[in-house]
């Protein structure tokens, strides 16, 4: 009895001392806590950025990555903890409005000083509070090898002979449908990768594709310099260009690798894998997907064959339409952490985007096209899609489409559109109902957003 009592107390004392040392240890070194938004580069942060930063400055970097589609949730619970993140991300004016009390004014930071075009920063009460760190572009990614195979096909029914000739929806549709009809000759399962619709994987449609009709609708509002600013004033959307959306969305569904009843279980990863394995010729996505394509096991696509084309859907003057280029990646420094943590956070961001080591990782591994004046012309990303975005940005006679979706009143609106799109694809909802729902939801969500 006595023996076991002694043993028990020793054990207790031991475990207490373990906890005690644990507590002192975590306070001993300085640490920057960064809540990362991009799961696709999470490993690069932990394996490359953190060790390099610690080696050069002695400050630890703790990176936590939120699962796809759950950043807002993770941020909310992390913010309520005793050690909240020092650096967090916001997705644009709407996201920042929700977190404005947490975002510290960045006027005097070194991070703000390297931002090339100061107007890109988002402001809270006249002070810059969120700084974009990566400009991104998306459109339809195509496999040039498969396209060329089609252009050289003797049984081809269209007169299109090169990818440059596809610059309208009509041509795209004709080529797609002919390719789909001859898919066995091209060795593919379908022209477009599956229209991924599983939970959290519908953003390519309810946000990115939706950008096109919204941009056209916002552009009709007169008296604003910026599309997003115009969009933010729109209390009632009529979904005026919804039919254009439908045209391209239908094209994706009807000429896909899978039948529409299966898309509810498909993820973006599935779609990117289909593209990487050469089972389809096109997939709608952005330059962040380059790593995903090249990282798939058994990938058959040659990096030099991965190219972009704009989202043609029959809008006016689409011959001069470019890729959708913009950003929803803004970094903020948390107002609620200690001054030391704030300084360290600034130090880290400045280091990442201005030191030689940091810039090298950004350029080669993270693949960000950055808006900072510390990057020279030849220091742009080396991945095929990043390069193609830069090419499209600078193409003569082509105007990039801005990211108008930043003005969508709420995430809820996008989610309900995503759910409706799935029902539409499965023939459980008519396009008319979908369109009416969108108009109705826009009005009610706009009202709620204004009241908040």
């Amino acid at each position: 009895m006595k023996k076991s009592l002694v043993l028990l107390t020793t054990l207790l004392a031991l475990s207490a001392s373990i906890f005690a040392t644990g507590a002192t240890e975590s306070n001993a070194t300085e640490e920057v806590y960064f809540l990362n938004f991009k799961p696709e580069v999470a490993e690069i942060y932990t394996n490359e950025v953190a060790p390099a930063f610690e080696a050069e400055t002695g400050i630890k970097l703790k990176v936590v990555t939120a699962a796809s589609g759950s950043y807002a949730q993770t941020l909310k619970s992390e913010m309520a903890k005793r050690n909240p993140p020092s650096i967090f991300q916001t997705n644009g004016p709407i996201g920042l409005a929700a977190d404005k009390s947490n975002a510290m004014p960045l006027t005097d930071t070194k991070f703000y000083s390297i931002l090339g075009d100061k107007s890109l920063a988002l402001q809270v009460e006249g002070q810059p509070a969120a700084i974009p760190y990566a400009v991104e572009g998306y459109g339809i990614i195509y496999n040039a090898a498969i396209m060329n195979k089609y252009f050289n096909l003797s049984s081809k029914k269209t007169r299109v002979n090169s990818i440059e000739e596809i610059n309208t929806f009509a041509t795209l549709k004709a080529v797609t449908e002919d390719m789909q009809a001859q898919k066995s000759k091209l060795g593919i399962d379908g022209v477009f990768a599956s229209t991924s619709m599983s939970a959290g994987n519908d953003w390519r449609w309810q946000t990115h594709l939706l950008n096109m009709p919204l941009w056209a609708e916002f552009a009709d509002i007169e008296g604003y310099d910026s599309i997003v600013e115009a969009g933010l004033t729109l209390s009632n959307s009529t979904f005026k260009y919804g039919d254009n959306f439908k045209a391209l969305f239908d094209l994706y569904l009807d000429n896909s690798t899978v039948v529409s009843t299966l898309i509810g279980a498909k993820s973006v990863d599935d779609s990117m894998a289909e593209f990487a394995l050469g089972r389809c010729a096109m997939v709608q996505n952005g330059n962040w997907g380059a790593g995903q394509i090249l990282g798939v096991n058994g990938n058959t696509v040659n990096p030099s064959d991965i190219k972009f084309m704009p989202l043609y859907m029959g809008l006016d003057n689409e011959e001069s339409q470019g890729l959708c280029i913009g950003t929803e990646n803004y970094l903020c420094i948390n107002n609620k952490v200690s001054d030391i943590d704030k300084t360290n956070a600034d130090k880290f961001l400045y280091w990442l985007f201005s030191s030689d080591t940091g810039k090298k990782i950004v350029q080669d591994k993270l693949g960000f096209i950055t808006p900072f004046n510390t990057f020279k012309e030849n220091e742009m990303p080396s991945d095929p899609l990043g390069k193609d975005v830069v090419k499209w940005m600078n193409k003569d006679g082509v105007n990039s489409v801005p990211w108008a979706f930043a003005a969508i009143p709420s995430q809820e609106l996008k989610n309900s559109l995503g759910a409706d799109l799935l029902r539409y694809a499965q023939n459980q909802m008519s396009w008319n109902t979908l369109s009416n729902n969108f108009v109705k939801n826009w009005a009610s969500e706009y009202k709620i957003a204004q009241e908040n």
């Binding site: 759950s70 807002a72 949730q73 909310k76 619970s77 913010m79 309520a80 996201g95 929700a98 009390s101 599983s198 939970a199 959290g200 039948v259 009843t261 299966l262 509810g264 279980a265 709420s410 995430q411 809820e412 989610n415 309900s416 759910a419 409706d420 799935l422 029902r423 499965q426 459980q428 009610s444 709620i448 908040n452």
Partner: protein
């Protein structure tokens, strides 16, 4: 002894009371208060009156979730209890290897809900692929998928409780009824069932509350899809709280309503089945 107990009662009860207060009582009061507030995290709440409760019924989403949950719970309570009771009857006969069967049937209960959800998603989607549909093509598939999953996970556990009940029926009672000439059917309905009423109380209570509270299986199997048509109340509360900026209070209000509903139902059920319990 009595005196000492009285003297030290407060001291010995204190740790338990403190734990109860910290882990249960204070959060519950906070939760109720927060349901009347507007907040983004627990530190910045401002009073909002009944606004959250109004916004809750802004659309039919919550009612739909509640209705789906009720349907699911009814179905799972019936199927789980019937199947587990039949298994318990079978495995209390003189069959060789009953213990092995009991163990095997109990095992699914040891696997966590999320993992089960993913595994069953793969199994069911793999099967449905034959018909070119998936679990989220139609809400009916998701509903039955959840029922199957719940049964698979819970039948073993409930079976053990029933087995314990059946084994504990006094031998004299069985012998007496046999001497009185009771056949198997009469035995079942007039001896076995009344004697295991306490087990039935427990099992129906557990299945009822499990059905209502179901979260991880729902999240992993369908995540509410298509749309929100297979979203149960717990998942709906979670999505409202975390998925919509500015709707934290609404999620909290839903949770309060949900607690009231589950508590009322569970207490009614306990009361009803307890009344039928008999002294052997």
């Amino acid at each position: 002894m009595q005196k000492a107990l009285k003297k030290y009662f407060a001291l010995f009860a204190l740790p338990g009371l403190i734990c109860f207060a910290i882990a249960f009582f204070i959060p519950m009061i906070m939760g109720i208060v927060l349901s009347f507030c507007k907040f983004t995290d627990v530190t910045n709440a401002t009073w909002a009156g009944l606004n959250n409760y109004k916004l809750m019924f802004m659309n039919a989403e919550f009612i739909n979730a509640l209705w789906f949950t009720v349907k699911f719970t009814i179905m799972s309570v019936i199927t789980i209890n019937i199947i587990s009771f039949i298994l318990a009857l079978l495995l209390t006969q003189d069959i060789p290897g009953t213990n092995t069967y009991r163990t095997i049937l109990f095992m699914p209960n040891l696997i966590g809900g999320i993992v089960l959800g993913w595994i069953w998603q793969v199994i069911l989607n793999g099967y449905l692929l034959k018909y070119q549909v998936t679990l989220v093509t139609d809400p009916r598939y998701g509903f039955w998928g959840l029922v199957v999953l719940m049964n698979w996970q819970n039948v073993g556990y409930m079976m053990i409780i029933y087995i314990a009940g059946i084994i504990n029926i006094p031998k004299e009672l069985i012998e007496a009824s046999q001497i009185d000439g009771a056949n198997r059917r009469t035995m079942l309905f007039h001896v076995t069932l009344p004697s295991i009423m306490p087990s039935i109380t427990i099992c129906s209570f557990l299945t009822l509350t499990n059905g209502f509270k179901l979260f991880d299986q729902n999240l992993a199997l369908t995540n509410g899809g298509p749309g929100k048509s297979t979203e149960m109340v717990a998942l709906n509360i979670f999505n409202t709280f975390y998925g919509r900026v500015g709707f934290e209070g609404v999620g909290q209000a839903k949770a309060v309503i949900f607690t009231i509903i589950v508590a009322t139902l569970a207490l009614t059920q306990l009361h009803l089945t307890r009344r039928k319990e008999v002294e052997a």
